[in-house]
């Protein structure tokens, strides 16, 4: 029997623009606009095996990030279900919620707590995170003083070192300078090589996807266009995008 880490069934996620609340402006408009429902993800079903690396590709606005967020539990699906089989999950995307007025160190601990770790566990992990983030003495400075590169390096370092069972990676491999990029790619590889870790990653960098992923899911306008073999799906996608 296959060991499935995530089971997504008939997932639908809609965005409803705000109900048209009465406002002074709408008094003067003759017709009220119809409420348009945006179907960000439509009837998507797939399974991910334990230890598998699934790449998600698709043009901008095709529902990739929305799907990852739903998997991370940030919002519940409107229809369908996501079964994580009891695994811990973390969403890695550019910039965790930092409190800009407190130091990087305290933000590391706070981020860990948000993801369900204790203060003690986080204190143990911090040296590793600080070293990986390469921000030196800035770790004791308030986050608002960070450059954008430092900000995203720290964010990457935190999530990469949290080591949850399932990692959702949303376009973070292109963070920082050349050296850090290389390092983060190495880190990703070592995380990925851990056979018990399941990774779902979103990226527009086809070369990286080709290197890292076992399978590719191609989303198009919220629906699965293709899922399967990495090379074939990517080349189909490229042909489609260039057509």
């Amino acid at each position: 029997m296959e060991d499935i880490a995530i089971e997504v069934k008939n997932l639908c996620i809609d965005y409803r623009p705000l109900k048209n609340l009465p406002s002074i402006k709408s008094l003067f408009k003759e017709k009220s606009e119809k409420v348009k429902i945006v179907h960000a993800v439509r009837d998507v079903s797939f399974n991910v095996k334990r230890g598998e690396i699934l790449g998600v590709i698709g043009k901008n606005g095709s529902g990739k990030s929305t799907m990852l967020r739903a998997m991370a539990g940030i919002f519940q699906p409107d229809e369908g279900s996501i079964d994580l089989k009891g695994n811990t999950i973390s969403l890695m995307s550019i910039g965790v919620g930092f409190n800009p007025d407190v130091s990087g160190l305290k933000n590391i601990i706070l981020s860990g707590m948000l993801l369900g770790l204790s203060e003690q566990e986080m204190i143990e992990k911090t040296p590793e995170i600080i070293e990986f983030a390469e921000i030196g003495d800035f770790i004791d400075m308030p986050v608002r003083t960070y450059s954008s590169g430092m900000h995203s390096k720290l964010a990457f370092a935190i999530t990469a070192n949290l080591e949850t069972d399932i990692m959702l990676v949303d376009e973070v491999l292109s963070v920082g300078d050349e050296r850090f990029k290389k390092k983060s790619r190495e880190k990703m590889k070592s995380l990925i090589n851990d056979k018990s870790r399941t990774v779902i990653m979103v990226s527009h960098d086809m070369n990286t996807m080709m290197q890292l992923c076992d399978r590719i899911l191609w989303l198009h306008d919220g629906e699965i266009k293709e899922i399967g073999d990495t090379e074939k799906t990517i080349s189909d996608y490229k042909n489609f995008m260039n057509a």
């Binding site: 919002f75 519940q76 919620g97 930092f98 407190v102 601990i109 948000l114």
Partner: protein
Amino acid sequence: MKTAKRLFEDVVNYRKYIVYGAKIGLQAEVTNAYLDWLWWILEPVCSMLVYYLIFGIVFKVSEPYFLVFIYSALTMWGFFNRTVNLSVKLIKSSKGIITKVYIPKPVLLISKMLIYAFKMLISSIIVVVLMIPYRVPVDWHLIQIIPVLLVFFIFCYGCACYLMHIGVFIEDMSYVVNIVLNVLFYFTGIFYSVSKRFPEPYGYFVEDINPLAFLIAQLRNALLNESIVYYKGLLIWFVLSIVIAISGTKLVYKNENSYVKVI
């Protein structure tokens, strides 16, 4: 009941985050100010002096232990005022966190309220300091402030839940809140006694239907007048506050998934 259970579980599960978040929130506030946490005392003390000057000296309002009378109400009002102003914008200002990780929204609110409660505690030191020169008699009646404050916190939390929810969807809410707070401030009797100043027979009526005025009056009863808190009224407001708090929490839980989609 289900909502209360879920809220309880969330608070227990996230207790460390609540405390740590409040702790660094407090630190963040003072790290850049020269006078640090002294501001939490200086701010209410200065407004107390202003009210004392205007109402005590210019308008010749007189209440026993007038400075303590104003100050105790100001600390409570300060907490309510901050909580209300915060909750309207809470979801939008926490965008950075809530779009990245799931966190029960009431937990977010409670963590912030803890910051304000701590500030309130610090600024109440002055109440004690003021009570000494006035020789306010101290006896067992003081214990009564505990149930009064309990009802007060539950009430604030309940209001904040509703405002947090509405604030996500209605942009104008912060303007409305400002006006309402302004009106409420004057009707709450921070610098006068509502029950004594309103013409008969409306005094007690106006005091009892305004939970803030009611709670502040009861706090003063316990603190200054050595009298028994009006427990029947307190019980009614306790029940009402619980109802507001639970239904507000329920509303937030029901809609919290859509918050992320809107902001």
